[in-house]
Amino acid sequence: MTDSLMQHLTPEEIELWAQGLLPATRDAHLTQCAECRALAERERKLIRELAQLTRFAPEFGFVERVMAKVKIPTPSGPYFRPHTDA
């Protein structure tokens, strides 16, 4: 058996597996190692739960409250920028 088949997955490899990005050579280890498979499945469940967490919104009017305190620089003229074309 090769080393890559025998070696337990690292935490980073488990994360890659949870994202479907683990190389096949390492993926094969999971078919043979019940310990890694169980851990990887628990990690995948957790990572999915975290990814699905709500993005909370601040109270209505947040943008206006911020903008009231932001100093906007005055453009020196119309909207110019340096010429960068070749």
Partner: protein, 219 residues
Amino acid sequence: MEVGEVVKVGGVGEDFIGAKDRPANLTGASDPEVVAWAKQGHEAAFRELVRRYERPIFSLLYRMVRDRALAEDLAQETFIKVLNAIGTYNPQFKFSSWIFKIANNAAIDHLRKRELETLSLDGSPHATTPDEMSATAPQLGDRGETPLQELEARELGGAIEHAIARLRPEYRACILLRHVEGHSYEEIARILDLPLGTVKTYIHRARNELRGYLEDRRE
């Protein structure tokens, strides 16, 4: 004309940004483009940056401090600091890394000042007995809550939110930036000013702790 395309103005030696490139088209623009417009003084570009990041920044802060009003104050402070310093922004770094760095620093400073890093469900770190821990623990979901507290209890009351709250602040920031906001390990290292190896260790430990807390609750 495509977004970002430059319209030449004859003889002036500079290029005029065409009408379609102006803030009306900001929604589809990249962060560096919006920042460049903000630097030129377009109010709409400032608004676009707030619109883009208000939820991610507020969510991170809310989960760090577990207090809606405080998280909103810190989010405002973050945006004001970032937007007022937009002229100093270095485009070599991602704008998102910069704003998350300022937000995280605001949260950590606050937690340190108020010793709110102890705001875990276990209560004060100074508590030495189960009774003291229980007495000092936040009581989400109690009767007699204000509407804001009810909202917080509803939003942060789930098992996963409770588990996140029990992590130490550094682990909490790492896990939120990685698995909620989707930043790379390298970006997190830059945001938190930590060595890459430390970030990897924190994320690994945080996931272990989270799994432990969640499994304890489910048993």
